[in-house]
């Protein structure tokens, strides 16, 4: 099944979803239920006939009572109690509930103990988890685990850092229970790269599209991911907030800010109390006050909320407070990557380079693929005037995001500072060919050429720059740069004797206050050159035709009038 060739049968989908919701809610897999239900809600318009609805069969023969009491304790988060009552059960559903309750109990206790400041739990000590893992392992090799238990086994393996094994187990889990979104999700997080997705044997199921797209997005293959999501979106899932937010994330990653913002807006219109991914949204906006107000009322103890508020303070240039909120986010979830990076940015603003370095390093320790942290480290060292030292960091960032012109430009600037012009030129070139998000590569390239006295190349780059600037909708953001470029070009053409071109550029220079004077001076010298040239022509041209040359002179003088006319104004 080719993932790019998406075919959806909405009715089957609906059937699967309803069935999945039932099964997962029976087992207490609340996040999966949430995802499935969201998806189901998006399929509101599909109305299956009653006979098409899935039939629920009771599969807890003789253990109904145990299961029900355990499930009620489970819902109340009394996990140990829950586990106790289904300890002896052999049916798959109570069995899963038993194992899952034990796992959650371990995790809950771990979390509770986090607050013990005197004796924080040792992350490497996982005795209880290991015991549970051994129990599952025995069943696993006896092939006694169903899809749900396999998923549980997988997350425990992942917790114990046994990633390759966990990958295999997750794949088995989704083979058995394709509807189990949480298993797909975890699989997407640990699958190393694109090739692995294709090389592994995955079930042919509609959910696979979601998985592939999701994983692409995780791995920053934004375009492929967006393609799938857009197709899904257009095939009857346009109400799915999940897909919308994923599309928004994709746009965000591709720096298509307007699209992303619009998408977030429409999500919030449908689902105003949704907090997921709002931290990304807050990175995009310039006015955060309303959003911050809204999210703090929804739930103030959510990482997303803290990040939004942190970003808000950051926009208000109240950096210490921003740091405070990022810290709070990190307290809620120490593995929350972007908070570390954002905190690093805040420290940079506060000129506390040491703290910034630390924050970025934390981010890298959590995920070495976080290009923003590498880039931030590079910037920090560049500010500390260590261009050679920061090269390493920029290179890392560039490796992780090879198609982002910003990294390449940063690298180029560092090279330029180190007088490695050849490398710098290469970088700027590359940045230009990558699309040049910030539009500075060309001007840098041109300036560098100018510095190297390669006027031809410099002029070509400046020309290209001017053309692009003029094409832009929002005109002349970089006013000074633009007019400097014009001035340079005017001078250049003047030197080469291409007076018409020189004239055009010099004339444009007059539009801006700063370059007005130079523009005037240029026009004067162009005019002077014209006068010089004319007699020279006269000498060359046959002297016998004296009349014509006189006529020529007249023409020149009339030209001069036009030239100097703005001068008079």
């Amino acid at each position: 099944m080719d993932v790019l060739d998406v075919k959806l049968d909405l009715k089957t989908m609906k059937y699967d979803l309803i069935k999945g919701i039932y099964e997962c809610s029976q087992r207490g897999l609340i996040h999966t239920v949430k995802w499935l239900s969201e998806m189901n809600y998006a399929l509101n318009h599909v109305k299956p006939l009653p006979e098409e609805m899935p039939k629920y069969s009771e599969d807890c023969e003789g253990e109904m009572e145990e299961f029900l009491i355990a499930k009620s304790y489970f819902n109340l988060k009394e996990y140990d109690r829950c586990a106790h009552f289904v300890k002896e059960c052999s049916n798959p559903k109570p069995r899963f509930l038993y194992l899952y309750a034990r796992y959650l109990s371990i995790e809950k206790k771990k979390l509770d103990n986090m607050t013990d400041t005197n004796c924080p739990p040792d992350p490497t000590k996982n005795e209880a988890l290991k015991d549970l893992c051994t129990e599952l392992k025995i069943d696993y090799y006896d092939n006694k685990l169903d899809g749900y238990c396999l998923y549980l086994y997988g997350i425990i393996l992942k917790k114990l850092d046994l990633l390759t094994l966990a990958t295999d187990v997750f794949i088995k889990a989704v083979m058995l229970e394709p509807i189990l979104w949480c298993a797909w999700y975890e699989l997407g997080k640990i699958i190393p790269d694109k090739n692995k997705i294709y090389s592994s044997e995955l079930p042919d199921h509609w959910i696979k599209y979601f998985f592939v797209a999701h994983t692409y997005l995780e791995q920053l293959n934004n375009d492929e991911s967006l393609q799938i999501y857009n197709t899904l979106y257009s095939m009857g899932l346009e109400n799915s907030t999940y897909i919308m937010s994923q599309i928004a994330l994709g746009h965000h990653n591709r720096r298509k800010l307007d699209e992303a913002i619009n998408m977030f807006k429409s999500i919030l219109a449908v689902d105003p109390y949704r907090l997921d991914n709002l931290d990304t949204y807050s990175n995009l906006l310039y006015d955060l006050a309303d959003l911050a107000h809204k999210v703090v009322n929804i739930d103030k103890y959510r990482v997303e909320t803290c990040c939004v508020i942190g970003n808000y303070y950051s926009l208000r240039s109240d950096h210490p407070k921003a740091v405070l909120y990022f810290r709070r986010a990190l307290k809620l979830n120490p593995q929350f990557l972007s908070a570390w990076t954002l905190m690093g940015h805040e420290y940079m603003e506060m000129k506390n380079t040491n703290a910034a370095i630390q924050s970025y390093r934390h981010a890298i320790e959590i995920n070495a693929r976080d290009y923003r942290a590498w880039y931030g480290l590079g910037q920090t060292y560049e500010i500390l005037k260590m261009p050679n030292y920061c090269l390493y960091y920029y290179k890392k960032a560039q490796q992780l995001k090879p198609n982002d012109s910003r990294m390449v430009i940063a690298l180029g600037e560092a090279y330029e500072k180190l007088d490695k012009t050849e490398n710098a030129l290469k970088c700027y070139y590359k940045a230009c060919s990558l699309g040049d998000v910030e539009g500075t590569a060309l001007i840098k390239l041109a300036k560098l050429y100018d510095k190297l006295n390669e006027t031809e190349n410099a002029a070509a780059a400046f020309t290209e720059f001017c053309l692009r600037e003029e094409d832009k909708d929002v005109k002349f953001e970089e006013q000074a740069e633009f007019y400097n470029a014009l001035q340079y070009l005017a001078n250049y053409h003047l030197k080469k004797g291409e007076l018409d071109d020189a004239y055009t550029y010099a004339y444009k220079c007059m539009e801006c206050e700063e370059t007005k004077e130079q523009g005037k001076a240029l026009l004067k010298s162009i005019a002077a050159r014209r006068i010089e040239q004319e007699p020279a022509q006269n000498v060359v041209i046959n002297e016998t035709i004296a009349n014509m040359s006189i006529a020529n002179e007249e023409a020149t003088s009339s030209n001069m009038d036009i030239v100097f006319s703005p001068n008079a104004i």
């Binding site: 013990d116 004796c119 630390q358």
Partner: protein
């Protein structure tokens, strides 16, 4: 700015130490010991020696227990009963009992036990401390002793625990205890190595980790062979980092570890990680103080690049370090950078070094001063400075090293002197200094800690080289084996690699095994390009492949004469290359003719050699001149020249050179005897033939069989000419026998070669 304050406060984690079952167990052990000491059994002990032994052994054991990472109870118990420590039986029993009762009686007992620790430390101020110690009435543990600190820290940390935490620790203890109970039933025989850093334990407290890092780093510096092997060490480091992610030192150790195996990417990663982590974000000090780490980070990056031979990158990084140090007025960092600059650049090297020495001594950076002096000595030597001045410079460095006990520099200095003497052709002196250096490390009575660094390796190799030229091949092998054992990793390993290949080369050259010698020479070229090139030329020369030999030598000479930037100031190689060139010229044209300018060339060489006091090379040149003279028929002249140089060669040359010199001398004597009358001549020839016996023995020692045959042939001829048939036949027989075993490959050595 309340918020800012809050930020700093919250980011500063209180340095807490985990209360682990191991710590609890050790505390209990100490408590039980204290109880035991107050016991009547101990006080009334008859055997005073045993009592002292108990006390001493327990103290050393406790020190070890406090410093090592957490041990499983099994290992701890094994230590208690091991032969290294003699501990009273009663103590071990009571210890076992306490643990067992702790396991059984529940959490209340644990709290009681923790409380009872308090009793053993009564407050004692300085006045009665000594008294109480002497009388040992109540307090056995002084508050300020190491054990006292440990207990007090333990008590405080334990006191802070909430009930749930106490419960957690109790359960952890039960697991810890039962693990031992289970395992002790099966594994009773296994004894841990007493000095081993616990096998693989995951829990490292910060102190334990720091001690481990410091120890391993010191070992890497001083005695690499005793440090853990690279993979093993890396395993420990990652386990340390798991429990102490904030420990920047661990990253540095991992950087050092990667350098041992020349792993560039990982080394770079670790180094930068170390410096990123090393900054204290709460540091609110002046700007220049703040960026200090960055300056040293850049400097260290330069060192890293230098290690991998990336000179340009190293220079760029160094420049950066210098730039920011200058901005911050950091003279100390600047000095360090300067001494590295001396190493990396050849422009104005002398001025840089002098400046470095002066400035460093001004700033009281004695280490860099001394290092600068040594570098200057080296520089002078390479630029043919005056010998006495060089030794004076080194003596100054010696003085500083002595004052500050810089073991590494002391050994550097010794090895430097050794190599200087070697350069100046006094091999005996060179060998002496090397042996002195080796002796320095043997001498356990001196306060100097032994230092097994680069100098030591050089000294071993020098000794090996000296043995090599004396023809003691078996001993060379033994010495090299020792070096390999001591210095398994780069960069020190290059030293013995060079030496080893030189050994193979020399031996195969003497035995005329060209292929082996050539491959050895290629290997030498990997470590030392110039030496390899020379050796290759030598092998081609002996193979009579004069064209190739000439090419090699010319390549070297070209580099020296034309390429100014190339750091080939070393006259030693130049002179040797020139000599070889002259030899090639001579050998390639003789016997058809003698190249006209050969004497001039040799004389030029001689001037060059004498100009930089290369006495031994000068003596060799003299031999060559004498050889040419002899072949030109100017025998008297040849003898006179030999008179001048023979002592030097006999005194300092190796077996092979000595034999060659004596052979030449014998040839000259015989040739010169044509002036004498028959009787006298007979006497001279006879003496010369006798003299050749010694020559033959020398050649035999270095296994130069073809040269032996030359000598035997000459002897036979000489005996023949004086009509001593028996001797002649004996020599001829010897020749015949040798020839069967070792066919001659170069038939001209006797005539053309020295």
């Amino acid at each position: 700015m309340t918020s800012a304050k809050e930020v700093t406060a919250s980011s500063k984690k209180p340095i807490t130490e985990m209360v682990t079952p191991y710590k609890l167990t050790v505390a209990i052990l100490i408590r039980n010991y204290s109880q035991y000491r107050e016991d009547d059994e101990f006080r009334n002990m008859e055997d005073e020696a045993l009592r002292c032994r108990y006390r001493r052994d327990f103290s050393t054991l406790v020190l070890r227990l406090l410093q090592s990472p957490d041990l499983p109870l099994l290992e701890l118990r094994n230590l208690l009963t091991s032969k290294h420590y003699t501990l009273p039986e009663t103590l071990i029993n009571s210890f076992d009992q306490t643990l067992a009762s702790l396991d059984e009686c529940g959490i209340g007992h644990l709290l009681d036990a923790a409380e009872s620790l308090n009793k053993f430390m009564v407050p004692n101020d300085n006045a009665n401390e000594s008294k109480s110690f002497l009388t040992s009435t109540t307090s056995i543990i002084a508050k300020t002793s190491i054990v006292g600190y440990y207990l007090r820290r333990f008590i405080i940390h334990f006191d802070k625990l909430t009930f749930s935490e106490v419960a957690g620790i109790y359960e952890a203890f039960q697991r810890y205890y039962n693990e031992w109970r289970k395992s002790s039933e099966f594994l009773k025989t296994e004894k841990p190595h007493p000095n081993d850093w616990c096998s693989n334990w995951e829990q490292w407290s910060k102190r334990q980790a720091e001690l481990f890092i410091a120890t391993q780093a010191a070992l890497l510096e001083n005695k690499e062979s005793s440090a853990l092997s690279p993979p093993e060490l890396q395993k420990r480091i990652s386990s340390i980092l798991k429990s102490n992610p904030d420990l920047a030192g661990a990253h540095f150790l991992s950087y050092l570890n990667y350098l041992r195996v020349d792993e560039f990417c990982a080394a770079m990663d670790s180094l930068l990680h170390c410096f990123d982590r090393n900054v204290d974000p709460d540091l609110k000090c002046f700007n220049d103080e703040k960026s200090k780490r960055h300056r040293f980070a850049a400097l260290n990056l330069a060192i890293l690049h230098y290690h991998f031979g990336h000179i340009e990158e190293a220079l760029a990084s160094l420049k950066e370090s210098i730039k920011i140090s200058q901005e911050a007025n950091d003279n100390v960092c600047l000095q360090h950078a300067l001494s590295w600059l001396c190493r990396l650049t050849t422009i104005n090297e002398d001025k840089l070094i002098i400046h470095c020495i002066l400035k460093s001594s001004e700033l009281n950076l004695t280490y860099t001063t001394s290092l600068g002096l040594q570098t200057f000595g080296q520089y002078c030597c390479l630029h043919s400075g005056r010998t006495y001045a060089i030794f004076e410079t080194l003596a100054k460095s010696d003085m500083i090293n002595c004052q500050h006990n810089y073991n590494d520099l002391v050994s550097n200095n010794y090895s430097m002197k050794s190599s200087l003497w070697q350069l100046y052709g006094k091999t005996e002196m060179s060998s002496l200094w090397s042996q002195l250096l080796l002796y320095l490390n043997l001498n356990s009575s001196s306060s100097n800690k032994p230092f097994y660094g680069e100098g030591f390796c050089l000294a071993i190799s020098n000794v090996a080289n000296h043995l090599l030229i004396q023809g003691e091949y078996n001993l060379v092998n033994a010495v090299l084996g020792f070096a390999k054992l001591k210095f398994p990793y780069a960069p020190q390993s290059h030293v013995w690699m060079l030496c080893e290949n030189l050994f193979v080369f020399t031996r195969s050259l003497y035995q005329e095994k060209w292929a082996e010698a050539e491959s050895a020479a290629q290997k030498i070229a990997v470590v030392d390009k110039r030496e390899g090139c020379l050796r290759l030329a030598e092998i081609y020369f002996y193979k009579q492949d004069y064209v190739e030999a000439d090419r090699c030598v010319d390549a070297l000479l070209d580099q020296y004469e034309n390429d100014k930037a190339y750091k080939f100031n070393d006259r030693y190689y130049y002179v040797r290359a020139k000599i070889l060139k002259a030899e090639i010229q001579f050998a390639s044209s003789y016997p058809d003719g003698i190249p006209s300018g050969i004497i001039t060339i040799l004389n030029n060489c001689l001037i060059e050699a004498q100009g930089c006091q290369l006495d031994y090379q000068a003596a060799l040149i003299h031999l060559h001149i004498a050889n040419v003279m002899l072949l030109l028929g100017m025998t008297g002249q040849a003898l006179r020249i030999l008179d001048r140089s023979l002592i030097q060669v006999l005194g300092h040359g190796g077996c092979y050179d000595r034999a060659r010199a004596k052979l030449l001398y014998a040839k000259c004597l015989v040739a010169d005897s044509h002036k004498l009358d028959d009787n006298e001549r007979r006497q001279v020839v006879f003496n010369a033939a006798k003299l050749l016996d010694g020559v033959r023995e020398d050649f035999q020692k270095v296994e130069a069989y073809s040269r032996m045959k030359d000598v035997l042939y000459l002897q036979a001829q000489l005996y023949n000419s004086v009509n001593m048939r028996a001797e002649r036949n004996r020599c001829a027989l010897g020749y015949r026998l040798l020839d069967e075993e070792h066919a001659t490959k170069n038939a001209y050595t006797l005539v053309k070669y020295l």
